[in-house]
């Protein structure tokens, strides 16, 4: 069997091993490639950075553990940004398996910045209903979420004395693994006249470019790269240590390069084999 045939019939276990090594090695020994923030991510960072201490931001953590590596660093970075600037985040999720991750992120960041639940932030948790929940909080947050995640009545909370609906928010950010961004844009941001940003998985980022171009969202963060860009911006301006997304970028770069090179190699071999078959047919 010559090289071309070997490549075309390569055992998939070899590919799996190479991918595993390309993920593991950069995670163990990072080569720290520079991360250049794109205008899409700067669009979110700039809007949050413009807010003043005491302003309110609504963060929808609409993702589950499957998208944790891509979106959890974004949630952590945005929460760190809010607490660093004294902005009050109101975190909720429309995904049933979302509260656990959101709780981890918000408790970790709140502890780091010594912030108090019900005063400096509120974790509203999960409610069933998708668009019905969005429309509910457009009318009243305390009516839709009568208690926060921990069971404390929201109406008596200090944070909700001047805030009762989405129109009282200064920014909305949907960190989404699914198709919730459109719902937030149409039923919350547009209806209440509040600016909004979106952070989503890399595969779904392409779907939101029309919203970005129409200024329906101020910025768009796609996948782990978007989260890493946000961490870079936050680190550059406030010295907040970079998180897991930045650590994962080297591994992602290595695997992407491998996939591209393997596609090129496989196609070259494929065309050589086609040419050979053609020659054999002509000879016969």
């Amino acid at each position: 069997m010559d090289f071309v045939e070997t490549i075309l019939n390569l055992d998939r276990r070899i590919i799996y091993t190479i991918v595993a090594l390309l993920v593991l090695i950069p995670l163990i020994k990072p080569f720290s490639l520079p991360i250049k923030p794109t205008p899409e991510v700067i669009g979110i960072f700039r809007e949050i950075d413009k807010l003043e201490a005491g302003d309110n931001i609504l963060i929808a953590a609409d993702f589950d553990p499957a998208s944790k590596p891509e979106l959890m660093p974004m949630l952590e970075a945005v929460l760190a940004h809010c607490f660093e600037r004294g902005i009050k985040p109101h975190v909720l999720t429309l995904w049933p398996s979302g509260p656990g991750l959101a709780q981890q992120a918000i408790e970790r960041q709140a502890e780091k910045y010594d912030k108090k639940s019900g005063i400096d932030y509120c974790f509203l948790g999960f409610r069933y209903g998708n668009v019905a929940v969005i429309l509910g909080i457009v009318s009243s947050i305390t009516d839709t979420f009568t208690t926060d995640y921990y069971g404390t009545p929201t109406r008596n909370m200090q944070i909700y004395q001047d805030v009762d609906a989405v129109r009282d928010m200064d920014y909305i950010l949907d960190i989404a693994a699914g198709a919730t961004v459109e719902g937030w844009v149409v039923y919350a941001a547009e209806k209440a006249g509040v600016k909004m940003g979106a952070s989503c998985t890399a595969v779904s980022a392409t779907a939101y470019y029309p919203l970005l171009q129409a200024d329906q969202i101020t910025g768009l963060s796609g996948g782990m790269k978007g989260s890493a860009e946000y961490e870079t911006l936050l680190s550059g301006k406030y010295g907040v240590p970079k998180g897991d997304a930045t650590k994962g970028m080297d591994a992602q770069s290595a695997v992407h390069v491998f996939i591209v090179l393997s596609i090129i190699l496989a196609n070259v071999c494929y065309f050589i084999s086609l040419k050979r078959e053609d020659e054999e047919r002509r000879r016969a």
Partner: protein
């Protein structure tokens, strides 16, 4: 009885559809109150839908175990996991004797412990396995067999490099001074990626969005007027 099975859902769909549509054009306080009330109903209905889903799941797996169908062992695991997760999340008992926090919602509680140490790694593993399959599938099946496939292949490869830091690095190391044109990068994947995402991709996505929304309007009108009846479980 047949009336409640066939005509009654159509009447409800028609009345609710027309009321909610008309409400949109009546910007009064009463109209807003009406919507808030209906949204409250909707959230309650979603809760019941979730209950129905849970009952259906339990029924399916219980039957599989009872009839000892192939793979019933997985159903046992599903039911045991379901009961444990539900009990640790719902039972108002103290778990301090196991070293957990007293508050069920605490991040040190038993439910969150299982979520963090079982659910998160398992779901993350399922999703990360995709990377291996994609790498293998791309190597084996991604061939430039036609013009369309070649265009997709080139665009895919450019975006894969343009959306990771190695693309920025390549652009910076290949930057050369080009006289009056200033500094230009010879291999600029991020620039091409940006163009692909903002021009052809955005144009196609806009078309898809318009198509989806027009279809949604059409299907809503069909449901309101009782033409589309598949939501009742039968054919149209």
């Amino acid at each position: 009885m047949l009336f409640f099975k066939r005509q009654w859902p159509i009447i409800i769909a028609f009345v609710m559809g027309i009321v909610m549509w008309a409400r949109f054009y009546i910007p009064t306080e009463q109209s807003q109150t009406l919507q808030d009330e209906f949204m409250r109903w909707a959230r309650i209905l979603f809760g019941f839908a979730a209950m129905l889903g849970i009952l259906s799941l339990l029924h399916h797996h219980w039957n599989k175990i009872k009839l000892k169908r192939p793979g019933f062992g997985f159903s046992v695991v599903t039911l045991v996991a379901f009961v444990i997760m539900a009990l640790t999340g719902l039972l108002p008992v103290s778990w301090t004797w196991l070293g957990f926090a007293d508050n069920l919602r605490s991040s040190n509680g038993p439910h969150m412990y299982l979520f963090e140490h079982m659910f998160v790694p398992m779901q993350a593993t399922m999703f990360s396995v995709l990377a291996f399959f994609i790498a293998s599938a791309a190597f084996r099946a991604f061939r430039a067999r036609s013009i369309e496939a070649t265009a997709l292949l080139i665009a895919g490869c450019v975006i894969m490099i343009g959306r990771v830091p190695v693309g920025d690095w390549l652009a910076s190391v290949t930057t050369v001074e080009m006289g009056s044109w200033g500094a230009r990068s010879l291999i600029n994947f991020p620039y091409v990626t940006d163009w692909l995402l903002n021009i052809p991709n955005a144009a196609a996505q806009r078309g898809i969005i318009l198509g989806v929304i027009l279809s949604q309007i059409a299907i809503s009108v069909r449901i309101i007027f009782g033409i589309e009846r598949t939501y009742m479980g039968g054919g149209d």
